[in-house]
């Protein structure tokens, strides 16, 4: 496993921008988890091409919880779209559990900023959608949908339509829908940023406990430094021009058994220091001010 970079424990985090890791972490078997090799992406904007991603190398373990931070437009969503198979990279390759990954695939689940449920299906129907596509028989589908609804605490809302739910409930249903397809990897693009502060906090707790139970590999994009620090086992920082990973370190605040509540974590000195440095890094100052 990649050792937390020296700087992370104190104030020196942002000083020398470490190049992204080019060797896979030692503990991950070569085949399990996500492995990005030398990903680059160029968009055509009008007549001139714009390089959005360059030389991205990344390896995530099959039970990783990686939070990705970076200023707006640095290419976080583009990178995720490549990992999901929505976008073909201009160069490089994506391997999921060892095999090349090019098209969207139930192996790789995605949760979006807006819950993005199918409004014409009940919540149970939404959650069962992936199973239906996989040809699981109706009865079995129903059983498993109920299971995942219970996991996100929505048993009572199974028969409702999405528009009858609050934002937080919708987002939990979306999470259940993705998990019900039993992906080995879950990509999340700012899944909580449209929620209000309170709902957001409760969703963060939900997500952490789900991860603790399912141990999926989660790739979690966020704008919110607090969120990344509270949730991530690993933290990635991207910078634009062209987009690349400039920091990749194990979150020193992460506690495997979540003994500490979020409030306790927040109150720590380390939290404040890390927070300040990450913000400075995202804001584009390569030297902490």
């Amino acid at each position: 496993m990649c050792a937390p970079i020296e700087a992370a424990s104190a104030a020196g985090l942002a000083e020398p921008v470490r190049p992204a890791l080019s060797a896979p972490p030692s503990r991950a078997a070569d085949t399990a988890g996500i492995r990005l090799t030398d990903i680059s992406l160029t968009y055509r904007q009008g007549s001139s091409p714009v390089q959005v991603l360059q030389g991205i190398n990344l390896a995530l373990e099959p039970d990783e919880f990686a939070c990705v931070l970076g200023p707006s437009g640095c290419g976080k969503s583009s990178l995720m779209n490549i990992m999901a198979g929505y976008l073909k990279p201009t160069g490089g390759s994506v391997r999921i559990n060892g095999s090349l990954h090019t098209k969207p695939n139930p192996q790789v689940g995605v949760v979006f900023q807006h819950a993005n449920l199918f409004p014409w299906l009940s919540i149970a129907g939404n959650v069962a959608f992936g199973l239906r596509m996989a040809g699981v028989p109706r009865k079995e589908r129903k059983r498993r949908a109920a299971e995942y609804l219970a996991l996100v605490g929505l048993e009572h809302a199974a028969e409702l339509l999405p528009h009858q739910l609050s934002g937080g409930m919708k987002q939990r249903a979306a999470l259940a829908r993705t998990l019900a397809a039993e992906p080995s990897i879950v990509l999340m693009d700012e899944p909580f940023s449209a929620l209000d502060a309170l709902t957001r906090e409760s969703m963060q707790l939900h997500l952490r406990s789900i991860w603790q139970r399912t141990r999926k590999c989660i790739f979690f994009i966020t704008h919110d430094v607090d969120e990344a620090l509270l949730l991530g086992r690993r933290i990635l920082v991207m910078q634009p021009g062209p987009g690349r990973i400039v920091q990749n370190f194990a979150n020193p605040l992460f506690r495997e058994q979540s003994g500490a509540s979020f409030d306790e974590l927040r109150a720590g000195k380390e939290f404040a220091a890390l927070r300040r440095q990450l913000i400075a890094l995202i804001a584009g100052d390569n030297t902490a001010k």
Binding site: N81, A84, G85, Y86, K103, P104, N105, P106, V108, G109, V110, F112, H114, N116, F118, P119, W120, F129, G130, R132, M133, A134, A157, L160, L161, P162, H163, Q164, L165, S166, G168, M169, R177, T178, A181, P183, L198, T199, E201, S202, L205
Partner: protein
């Protein structure tokens, strides 16, 4: 720290207030009817121009009782509705798949676009004589005229609805294992459905507006033909009665589609 889940109540319209507005509408209708009645009693108003409400009512009663020129009133209405619904059915089964395909694939759209754009604004009467030449004077040419008038709005609604499906929804569905035909059947079509029904409303409107034109050549039935025939003999009372029948039918059809929309897509406020 528990966040209360609020299950939003679907309907929050104040029911009482709308009663007030309904009353106002009713009053204004009654006022206009009264005005009509007074005006038509005025000796200097030619009853040819403005028959009295009583005349119109008796014309209506007459048609309802004895029919008009060989067919009962219901038969006339039925003939028109049959033409319209045949045309609309054809519209739906052709314009929707083609429109959705065009909406999802810019190349296919580029193939069809110029023709749709070109024929769409054409007045149906301009090409009606060609249709009669090609398809004869029977119902075929009438139905095709109605079909062509309804096709463009339905097609455009289908293209538009398919284009505006959020990319995330399609991507999400693909990540859940939907692709090819199943993507169209389980995700794209249901996503479009509310817009398609709204498009159908427009198509019904346009088709309906073409009804009289369609029944101009060699018809002996249909409510549109009735108006034309009555106007040949300057029977204003029948013209008025037929117009009122037409208006009521149109409102009924439209309400039915609106109800359907509300039923099919309760999440959309209309």
């Amino acid at each position: 720290m528990a966040v209360k889940d609020d299950i939003r109540s679907a309907a929050r319209r104040p029911a009482k207030e709308s009663g007030v507005y309904f009353a106002v509408s009713a009053c204004s209708v009654i006022a206009v009817l009264l005005l009509w009645w007074t005006a038509s009693r005025n000796p200097w108003v030619n009853p040819l121009f403005l028959p009295s409400p009583a005349d119109v009512w008796s014309a209506f009663a007459d048609i309802a009782r004895e029919g008009y020129k060989g067919s009962t009133m219901l038969a006339h209405i039925g003939a028109s509705l049959r033409r319209i619904f045949t045309a609309l059915l054809l519209v739906f089964v052709t314009a929707v798949p083609l429109g959705i395909l065009c909406g999802r694939n810019r190349l296919i759209r580029a193939v069809f676009d110029p023709f749709i754009e070109f024929y769409r604004p054409l007045p149906p009467l301009a090409y009606y004589s060609l249709l009669v030449l090609w398809f004869g004077i029977q119902d075929t040419s009438k139905v095709i005229l109605l079909f062509l008038s309804g096709f463009a709005p339905m097609f455009i609604a289908a293209v538009y609805s398919a284009r505006r499906i959020p990319a995330d929804r399609i991507n999400g569905a693909r990540s859940l294992g939907a692709n090819g035909f199943r993507l169209y059947a389980f995700v794209i079509f249901p996503s479009c459905l509310p817009d398609l029904l709204t498009g159908l409303r427009t198509a019904v409107g346009v088709t309906y507006a073409t009804l009289v034109a369609a029944e101009m050549v060699a018809a002996v039935s249909g409510i549109g033909w009735m108006v034309l025939d009555a106007s040949k003999y300057l029977r204003s009372d029948i013209i008025y009665a037929a117009i009122i029948i037409m208006g009521i039918i149109a409102i009924l059809i439209d309400s039915a589609i609106r109800l359907l929309i509300r039923k099919v897509s309760p999440w959309i406020e209309s």
